[in-house]
């Protein structure tokens, strides 16, 4: 039968002290763990842009084994895409080329919906700017 911990005996006092000490240590460890995990996720992206860049297209007889970016005739567009951040480019291509919903993309990348929409619109603005269409 479990004895009631009324915090009066020396044993109960020690147990309560240990519990309090443990709770504090656990919560601090959890905070540090989650911070480190967040930093790691911001640096590491679970994708490889080459998956998109090397996707075969219908015009393989004319364009050979060129990557998607290299197949573009507009050099400015090529440059703009090459200079883009990997994650932003992935989001833009997934939505613009594959017509995937942003909800799917955010679930795949583990990012927020606003993060994905901002990244997409950032790419659109960048491409318009690079192609001379203004920043909007």
């Amino acid at each position: 039968m479990r004895e009631r911990n009324d915090g009066k005996s020396a044993d109960d006092i020690l147990r309560n002290q240990f519990t309090a000490y443990l709770v504090t240590a656990v919560r601090n460890r959890k905070i540090r763990y989650l911070q480190a995990k967040r930093r790691h996720e911001q640096r590491e992206l679970p994708l490889d842009i080459e998956d998109y860049a090397a996707e075969p297209r219908d015009e393989t007889d004319l364009l050979g084994n060129l990557s998607l970016i290299e197949q573009l005739e507009d050099f400015r567009l090529q440059q703009a895409l090459r200079q883009a951040k990997t994650r932003d480019l992935y989001i833009f291509l997934a939505k613009a080329l594959d017509d995937r919903p942003l909800a799917d993309i955010t679930a795949e990348l583990g990012i927020g919906f606003h993060t994905a929409t901002n990244a997409y619109h950032r790419m659109v603005r960048k491409l318009r700017r690079e192609l001379g269409g203004g920043g909007k």
Binding site: D12, R15, F18, Y21, L22, V26, R27, R29, Y33
Partner: protein, 60 residues
Amino acid sequence: MNFTTLLLRAKSGDEAAVEEIAAMYKPLLVKESVVDGAFDEDLYQELCLTLVNCIHRISV
């Protein structure tokens, strides 16, 4: 066996005592390992190590 004896044994390296203390506090560790509704196995392992460290660091 009271908690004081259990803790002293755990501090001296008694694995059975450490496991018994770990079992006592497992619900706490599991609860703190749930992040955004999902159980994080890596975090749980980290918290188990934290418990072991606390056993060795606390003064009796």
